[in-house]
């Protein structure tokens, strides 16, 4: 498999390392309100390392690896009609912390159907599978870092954390950026959902402003009349230092 590349050039002057992650902004590994984290969180502190080529580089993807319907969850698993549910567009930009769009990067999305049921062999929730809905999509951002999906708004989903825990409606998102150090998986929520405030997974995030940054507003400007509503969701990946002074990545 030969992998063709977009004509990617790092911006000049060649930038330096990526900014350190703010781990008070992200959820901690050990967050006992989310019970599964209790046995799956390291006890030792993470070891901080300077970024080398291994961290500054990462996989790149090309349009010829994706299919034409990959970003359209209304159509990409339709067998004998459209899936049932609220037709929505989810769109936004992938930016870095400096506010620059990240071009040609892979965004992957997955979700439950309108009733909160996942198409996964381990999901046994009694709400039915939708025969015309798969629940996954992917796309590359354009030159400006813009991405968009079309899908069905997912339903809330019960899970056994507390006896009566329900996830808010959410879409899982996975993003790359040009370096492996930016690799990120997150979840987007929908404006106004009352389940957001009582969700243990949401509440693993300690900062109220950080939680708000995961809630997509209704975007009527981009809604299509008589067809599809829109939600806007920007995704921010780590930014990087602008100057090359004292940068001894290359050993000089």
């Amino acid at each position: 498999m030969t992998i063709e590349r977009p004509n990617f050039q790092p911006s000049a002057p060649k930038p330096g390392e990526y900014y350190q992650r703010d781990r008070d902004w992200h959820p901690p590994a050990f967050a006992p309100i989310y019970k599964t984290s209790v046995l799956r969180s390291p006890k030792n502190a993470l070891l901080s390392i300077d970024q080398s080529l291994s961290e500054l580089t990462g996989p790149m993807f090309n349009h010829n690896e994706l299919g034409p319907l990959d970003n359209d969850m209304i159509s990409n698993y339709a067998k004998d009609g459209d899936p049932i549910g609220e037709r929505i567009i989810v769109h936004g930009r992938v930016l870095d912390e400096n506010g620059r769009g990240i071009p040609h990067t892979l965004v992957e999305a997955w979700q439950a159907n309108a009733g909160g049921r996942y198409r996964h062999k381990k999901d046994t929730y009694l709400a039915p599978i939708d025969p015309n809905f798969g629940g996954c999509g992917r796309c590359l951002t354009d030159d400006q870092g813009y991405y968009y999906f079309r899908t069905i708004k997912p339903g809330p989903y019960p899970w056994r954390n507390y006896v009566n825990s329900w996830r808010p409606a959410h879409i899982h998102l996975s993003v790359f950026g040009p370096s492996f150090s930016q690799r990120l998986i997150t979840q987007m929520y929908f404006e106004g959902d009352p389940l957001i405030d009582i969700c243990p997974i949401v509440k693993t995030i300690p900062d109220e402003a950080a939680i708000k940054s995961l809630i997509a507003p209704l975007d009527m400007h981009n809604s299509i009349p008589m067809d599809t509503r829109a939600y806007k969701f920007d995704i921010v990946l780590r930014g990087r230092r602008s100057t090359l002074f004292e940068n001894r990545l290359e050993g000089n």
Partner: protein, 208 residues
């Protein structure tokens, strides 16, 4: 007033959840949707280098095998060159090798496998040389933010001895948690690499 610093905050991480396969590896979720899937067999027919198989399991803090984990790997080619425009070395990239793999553990056994080539040495900072290694990123239900670690090779004793990252691990005993053991089965080179998320023998994880 001083000027405003215009930075925006990184989007906070959330767990990938138990159904991460739907989005990242639909075949594991139990259905077929995309024409082209990303997999754990990443060396093409023309990829240069020694074919190797990485095998391992991930354990939680009660020593139970984690059976719904997803890993990604990132590595250089056999010459130690990353397939990325910012790799400043004059070495050739391998058009048949991106260097990235997506790996799912088996739902029954928890075993994960990566079929790849053994990477070469890559430059470290300040003129140092890093021992051959594969960067790994681990997500799963119960993991709130992806865990970064590295896999090194037990048969690279000399290079491992001077690797700047391994040597940066203060407790020498913990360095062993990053070394994969080599064996051969039916002519195939296998490296075994178990990951312990918590407790005795806990794997070293990095903030990169």
């Amino acid at each position: 007033m001083v000027q405003k610093l215009d930075f925006i905050k990184e989007t906070p991480s959330q767990t990938a959840g138990p159904y991460v396969h739907i989005g990242l590896a639909p075949a594991y979720a139990g259905f077929d949707i995309f024409e082209n899937n990303f997999t754990n067999e990443i060396a093409g027919p023309n990829t240069r280098g020694e074919r190797i198989t990485i095998m391992g399991r991930v354990f939680d803090g009660s020593d139970a095998v984690v059976k719904d984990v997803l890993l990604e790997s990132w590595q250089a080619n056999t010459d130690g060159k990353y397939n990325h425009p910012e790799d400043f070395q004059t070495k050739d990239v391998d058009d048949d090798f991106r260097g990235w793999g997506r790996i799912c553990s088996d739902f029954e056994t928890g075993e994960f496998t990566l079929k790849t080539i053994k990477p070469g040495k890559v430059p470290g900072r300040n003129g140092s040389t890093q021992a051959p290694h594969i960067s790994l990123w681990i997500v799963a239900r119960g993991i709130n933010i992806g865990l970064h670690t590295r896999l090194y090779f037990a048969d690279e004793t000399v290079a491992n001895g001077t690797d700047p990252v391994l040597n940066g691990i203060e407790l020498a005993e913990r360095r062993k948690t990053l070394i994969a053991e080599r064996s051969e089965q039916d002519g195939e080179v296998i490296y075994t690499f178990d990951i312990r998320l918590q407790g005795d023998g806990e794997t070293v994880f990095f903030d990169i």
